[in-house]
């Protein structure tokens, strides 16, 4: 009856009535990005509706906030305006910056209320994810969906090039050899490339860090947000390898290719292999018409792949009631059942180890060996580089690697410039921390 009334009296009154009747329900908002291709936004809205039905005392609103970078920007803006969102699905490597700028609530008190220690809480998640979610033993993020770079390859292209689809490349040498065999020319046109990878901002820094890590590198200081190693031999070697693929072996197109161009080329058979996030698994599975498989990122010195994806965070500036409601939502979203369902829907792997013990997850893994490879690679995953001013620091690297991809700079020159830029961006922090002497 009440609802009927509201409908006739118009939107303004309806809103007032809602607030009136739902006095007990705590209103919270969840900022969420959609970072990879696919229908993630509608699924998130559906999930939050289910949550609201199961929790009548909480009313959560899912707010779509664009890419990871946009979400970061909007969260900062909201915090500054005094309207902190109750929960944000934040790119996992931005968490450190929120800790540095003191804009994030430690989750330890909420975990303690549930009778757990921070270490016990983090033990529920894959080991590779723990570093990006914690800082000096305190928990700041709850891993929500995570990914690593993955090698996708076309079975038909492999057969056509005389390669065995059961034996994907394992080392960089195998990788280069396979790419050479896969590359096909017709006149002055390349009709099939050996390998393609996204070279646009955000993706390129992540993939380059992965190559540097397989080359034996640390890439960044895991314990301190003011250091990054762009001029280390392991990073230079990784960028030289990219240069080799493009300009010497000519098995990868020159210049910057975006993720859409990479997947389109893969679907059309214009590239034999591609490097893409595990988060795109479902998108590839739905759109690839011919058989394809996935493999670990090939190694140079060690098997390694950086973690990507996002964690749920609780920004500062929320009332205790909203904090408690947000914590309920965070725990619900990262519960094995929900995390497993989201993983099957998107392709991201579920950060909760227990999600993989569920029967529906077990049968999904046997049906989809491409998703199993992604989970197996987790044993070799590393944390995602995180520094002060991380977006600018990452972009400095990407501008350098893009110059190499375009044949405008040598890896050494490009990385020296990138290091200089990155050091400049981190200087305010470094000056006040590592370089600050006790007075």
């Amino acid at each position: 009856m009440r609802l009927l009334h509201a409908a006739t009296l118009g939107a303004g009154l309806a809103l007032a009535l809602c607030y009136g009747t739902a006095q007990a329900a705590t209103e919270i908002d969840l900022f969420f990005p959609v970072p990879v291709q696919g229908k993630l936004a509608s699924e998130m809205t559906r999930l939050v509706d289910v949550f609201n039905k199961e929790h009548p005392d909480i009313h959560a609103t899912a707010v779509y906030t664009g890419s990871y970078d946009d979400t970061n920007l909007k969260t900062h803006a909201a915090i500054e305006a005094g309207k902190s969102p109750a929960a944000v699905i934040m790119s996992a490597n931005f968490v450190r910056e929120y800790v540095i700028t003191d804009e994030i609530e430690p989750l330890d008190p909420l975990i303690a209320k549930d009778g757990q220690t921070p270490a016990q809480f983090m033990d529920q998640f894959w080991p590779a994810l723990r570093l990006n979610a914690t800082d000096q033993g305190h928990v700041y993020g709850v891993p929500f969906h995570n990914s690593t770079p993955l090698l996708y390859y076309s079975v038909d292209a492999f057969k056509d090039a005389g390669l065995d689809p059961d034996k994907p490349p394992v080392t960089w040498q195998d990788w280069l050899d396979a790419a050479r065999k896969l590359t096909k020319h017709e006149g002055n046109q390349t009709t099939r490339w050996g390998v393609m990878m996204p070279g646009t901002y955000d993706y390129l820094g992540w993939i380059t860090s992965g190559l540097a890590m397989s080359n034996g590198g640390q890439f960044y200081n895991q314990d301190y947000g003011g250091e990054i190693y762009y001029t280390a031999p392991t990073t230079i070697g990784a960028v030289r390898f990219i240069d080799e693929l493009v300009h010497k072996a000519r098995v990868m197109p020159e210049g910057v290719t975006d993720a859409n161009a990479v997947t389109t080329a893969f679907f059309q058979g214009r590239t034999g292999m591609m490097v893409l996030s595990t988060g795109s698994l479902s998108f590839v599975r739905e759109n690839m018409k011919t058989p394809y498989r996935t493999a670990f990122m090939p190694r140079k010195m060690v098997n390694a792949a950086p973690i990507g994806g996002a964690s749920l965070i609780l920004p500062k500036g929320n009332s205790p009631e909203r904090q408690a409601a947000a914590w309920t939502l965070m725990k619900w979203l990262t519960s094995p059942e929900i995390a497993g369902g989201w993983s099957r829907f998107t392709g991201y792997f579920a950060p909760r180890i227990a999600a993989y013990d569920l029967p529906e997850m077990k049968s999904f893994m046997t049906e989809h060996p491409d998703a199993k490879v992604a989970v197996d690679q987790l044993a070799y995953a590393r944390s995602w580089f995180a520094t002060y001013n991380v977006v600018g620091v990452r972009k400095a690297l990407e501008d350098g690697v893009q110059a190499v991809l375009s044949g405008r700079a040598t890896p050494e020159v490009a990385m020296a410039e990138a290091q200089k830029q990155a050091d400049g961006l981190m200087k305010p922090y470094v000056d006040q921390t590592a370089l600050k002497l006790p007075e």
Binding site: V256, N260, A261, Q268, P428
Partner: protein, 310 residues
Amino acid sequence: MSSTTLPGALARPTSAVRRRPARARPAVTAYALLLPSAVFLLGFTYWPVVQVLVGSFSVRGFRIAPHWGLDNYARLFADPHFGNAVLNNLLYAVGTVIPSVVLALGFAVGLRESGRVRMAMRTLVALPMLIPLVAAAALFVFVFLPGGGLLDWYLAKLGVASHNWLGNPSLALGSIIAITVWKNTGYYMLFFLAGLAGVPQEFLDAAKIDGAGPIRRFWHITLPLLGPTLGFVAVIATLNAITQVDHVIVMTQGGPSDATNLLLYYIYQQAHQNYDLGLASAATVVSVAALLALSLASLKTLERGMHYES
């Protein structure tokens, strides 16, 4: 498109003078009528302008007390990315303003007469202005896809090798310029069509009788009489070249290697990616000052060659 002034206002500056008696009304009514707009202008335009000016002199850092100084400007002029953005923006301005204005004028002169075919052509040329820049940019990402995109697909039929239109630093700015020209030409054409309607037919007929060909008629009658419209369109086009970066955000994010970084996008990056509000404010002040100087200079230069009909 943000402008609301019509070229007619520029074309007939004398009309306001003639109507002077009508303005001798009690000032209270006038101010009361102006008040609503004034409140919004003060709150959303002038106050932010003051804040940006003040902010550009406020030096902030990590965990240090803010103080006043010129550090932001010193850092701005030392930043190679800023120099690069200025250079890109100059190229972009020249590359978009001249072709789109020349094309718009050409289309307007060619399509000014009535007739079904001409009307259809006019609609076609003006159509891109109905598409929001963001939507157009999102579409063109696919048109420009290397290898599989529409552009490369047709070029391949002509035997042209595929190009990485947005991913090659030498081509990316050119691709961005091409879309802008495609998008804005029709809009500017409308202004020229309006301006052409004000060119008296008897002048053209007289010249025709005296034996002047179409080119001479254009150079000596049409173009001089279009002076005010041309001046207006040139200023609008220059403003657009600095204030519209939607397609850069959608298509390239200023890349590859900073090749498509324009001033406004540089400001956005400093403010939102690096949280460097001081540097962003300084860059804003410098670009707005330059833009203002440029607009005034171009209006002055064009005004000298303008012929007003009276």
